[in-house]
């Protein structure tokens, strides 16, 4: 078979697929066929490149040319210019926002420079639907090594030594978790991959499943071998059709190639994997709730202990790890714990994938070594704040996390530092906010989410969060009192202290952290009835600029509640008591004399 001389990698992640990347790949292929180049140039639909802000992404290898925001109609030009003539299509290249220069080679882009891709090592690089490509990148070599050269205890020891901690939120040491499960004896044990990513704005697990599904299969098999389980289950969100498809394809291929099934690598060890579908419940990310959901029940958490490692799925010892955690496993086995534990900080080893979002230039999925600072992430990788506005806060950890401020920008990111700062790692959402974001409204946004996703089992979460939301609503509407703030503080503390599961215990974090870091803003809402970000509609006031108004009466005539007074040809005024903030006056004013304050 003739070797392909060039490879065109087209991002086949959900984000890029949503903006027609599949069609781009098809057009590239048909253009190649027309030019008779289909045997020389290969088009591959890969997993997510991470740089979603500028999707769809097309990358040409081996010269590493990175095209952004490609449209199907660009396919012809890419083939005719780049492939045939070797001329890069300049207009599709990434432009450095600061230097205003085109950056051709992806390695030199600010977005990628500081990243270290371990969990995402194969995403955006291999064809996820081709097991051969995974094997070519050392795939299944780790499980082969475990099964043929290592005892289960050695595998556990290696993971323990690596210092890997759970990437799903809690940060529990993975090796220790495996060890507990291995020591509980039972006729049947289970390995469960938690792919019920529910954190709004976090999509690393989905990207890994879409871009490198075999790494999860391999890691789960290693996990099964280590703890003595022969059955694996992936609990995956039904809202992730592409990830489900890729995983199904990968499982079928793995079975066909004999790396999943009976007597793996000629040993006595057998392992197989099945899929279980989530049905839209954030709380199912909590492992006991997840297990109940897999058993076909309401996904309500139960008190631990018993831990799943003692009594989990169908009351059998069960080890639950999240997708990103698993993605780290094969490479740790191959490169060794001592390679891995050199990356990161003292207590947090390796890398972490973050979903960078919000008012930032480079929205996307990034993987960085633990210990990197927020400043590096936001300004170097993220390319700074959109529109050159002022940084205000960064929210990490999603609904379970908190808002960090300017003073935390140089804190090295790791599990413990984030908790100490009043937030948490969570699954890796990172939302950057500028001065247009109201911190009270942001706390309310997260609480709305928690309220909607609360399972309702325990009273602090079911009723307490609702009451906190009502208080926040009151405050954003300008009806809050200082007593409300006191109640809010007490409630947040009690909910954190008494809720049944992790979701409930962490649900007050967005409030607690904003109360701590943005107390003034709360007080402003309560005492001055002002929202400095201009985000709380009820606190906004319509004002007529007396120096601009000519007294044309257009506003007064059109005001539906007669809130505007003034003599003809003299500046008008708005009676704020009557004003319903409908915006009609602004629409009618020809002199831009009316503004919102």
């Amino acid at each position: 078979m003739a070797k392909y001389k060039m490879h065109i990698l087209v991002c086949g992640g959900t984000g890029c697929t949503a903006s027609q990347s599949v069609e781009i790949a098809d057009r590239l292929k048909s253009n190649l066929l027309d030019k008779g180049l289909d045997k020389e140039v290969q088009v591959i639909l890969t997993g997510c490149f991470g740089f979603c802000e500028k999707g769809p992404i097309v990358k040409i290898m081996p010269d590493n040319t990175f095209y952004t925001e490609v449209k199907p109609e660009d396919a012809q030009e890419i083939i005719e210019e780049h492939i045939i003539k070797g001329r890069k299509v300049a207009r599709l290249l990434y432009t450095d926002p600061e230097k205003k220069e085109h950056v051709a080679d992806a390695k030199h882009m600010g977005f990628y420079k500081k990243q270290l891709r371990i969990a995402l090592r194969n995403c955006g690089f291999i064809d996820p639907e081709n097991i051969g490509e995974y094997i070519a990148c050392d795939g299944y070599a780790a499980v082969a090594k475990c099964l043929t050269e290592m005892t289960p205890q050695q595998v556990i020891d290696e993971i323990k030594l690596s210092g890997l901690r759970g990437r799903g939120g809690g940060g529990f040491p993975t090796g220790m978790k495996w060890e507990i499960a291995s020591k509980n004896h039972a006729d049947q044990k289970y390995v469960v991959c938690n792919a019920d990513e529910g954190d709004p704005g976090a999509f690393m697990d989905r990207s890994i499943l879409e871009g490198d599904p075999h790494s999860i299969i391999e890691a789960m098999t290693i996990n099964g071998y280590a703890i003595g389980a022969t059955k694996g289950l992936v609990y995956i969100r039904a809202e992730y059709p592409l990830a489900i498809h890729r995983l199904q394809v990968a499982i079928a291929q793995a079975r066909e190639y004999g790396v999943l099934g009976e007597n793996l690598f000629g040993t006595d060890f057998s392992f197989d994997i099945e899929l279980r579908y989530g049905a839209g419940a954030f709380v199912c990310g909590e492992e006991t709730a997840l297990i109940h959901s897999m058993e076909g029940k309401r996904g309500e958490p139960t008190f631990k202990p018993p831990f799943p490692a003692q009594s989990g799925y169908l009351q059998k010892p069960t080890n639950v790890n999240n997708v990103e955690t698993y993605a780290n496993i094969p490479i740790i086995i191959l490169k060794g714990a001592n390679w891995f534990n050199k990356i990161g900080t003292e207590k947090s080893k390796g890398t972490k994938v973050f979903a960078l979002a919000g008012q930032i230039n480079n929205v996307g999925l990034i993987e960085v070594p633990m210990g990197i600072t927020l400043r590096e992430v936001i300004y170097e990788i993220g390319g700074g704040i959109k529109g050159g506005r002022q940084f205000k806060a960064v929210q990490t950890g999603g609904p379970s996390g908190g808002c960090l401020t300017e003073k935390h920008l140089d804190t090295p990111i790791d599990y413990d530092n984030l908790i100490a700062a009043g937030s948490m790692m969570g699954s890796g959402g990172m939302v950057v906010m500028d001065e247009t974001s109201c911190m009270v409204a942001i706390a309310k946004f997260y609480l709305e989410f928690t309220c909607e996703e609360s399972c309702g089992k325990c009273s602090p979460c079911r009723i307490g969060n609702k009451r906190m939301l009502e208080i926040l609503d009151k405050i954003t509407k300008g009806n809050g009192t200082m007593e409300d703030l006191e109640n809010l503080k007490n409630l947040a503390g009690v909910i954190k202290d008494t809720a049944l599961c992790g979701l409930g215990q962490t649900s007050p974090n967005p409030i607690l952290s904003t109360l701590t870091n943005f107390w003034d803003e709360y007080v402003e809402h309560v005492q001055d009835k002002k929202c400095r970000a201009g985000a709380c509609k009820s606190l906004m006031q319509y004002v007529i600029d007396q120096s601009v108004c000519v007294g044309c009466t257009a506003c007064a005539r059109n005001c539906p509640v007669n809130a505007i007074q003034g003599e003809k040809k003299t500046p008008h005024t708005i009676n704020t008591e009557l004003c319903i903030k409908c915006g009609t006056c602004i629409e009618k004013c020809k002199f831009n004399a009316i503004s919102i304050q």
């Binding site: 070797k3 990698l9 081996p62 070797g86 299944y140 066909e256 190639y257």
Partner: protein
């Protein structure tokens, strides 16, 4: 497809598929020797395509850690086909009027042994 039943099976399979992905792997790695063939219309007319194919073939044959790719016209149209070689830490050089023999020479002498090879048209 025969099932993978041992470490050796896996290694054998890996070797057979490695090649397909090699072009990509090399592109992603830093510190590799880069060989670029100017493949604009002028170059192709002068036979750059044959050179490009021959380069790929020979790099493979020699199992060299060299990444080969095409590039735009280097502006040395009179010397086509041209090949630019960049060795990390050294200035890149461009060889003109390259034929298959010259390719062998570039690979064996210039890249592997660091010897001087004639035909450099530009530095």
């Amino acid at each position: 497809m025969a099932q993978i039943k041992s470490l050796e099976d896996l290694q054998a399979l890996k070797n057979s598929v490695q090649e397909e992905i090699d072009t990509r792997v090399k592109g992603n790695r830093d510190g590799l020797v880069q060989v670029k063939v100017a493949m604009a219309t002028c170059g192709i007319t002068a036979g750059a395509k044959t050179i490009y194919n021959y380069l790929l073939e020979q790099v493979d044959k020699r199992s060299m850690d060299v990444v080969v790719y095409q590039t735009d016209c280097m502006g040395l149209c009179k010397d086509e086909p041209t090949v630019e070689v960049s060795i990390p830490g050294k200035d890149s050089v461009i060889f003109g009027n390259v034929d298959t023999n010259k390719v062998d020479e570039i690979l064996d002498k210039y890249i592997q042994k660091g010897e001087t090879v004639s035909g450099v048209v530009s530095k």
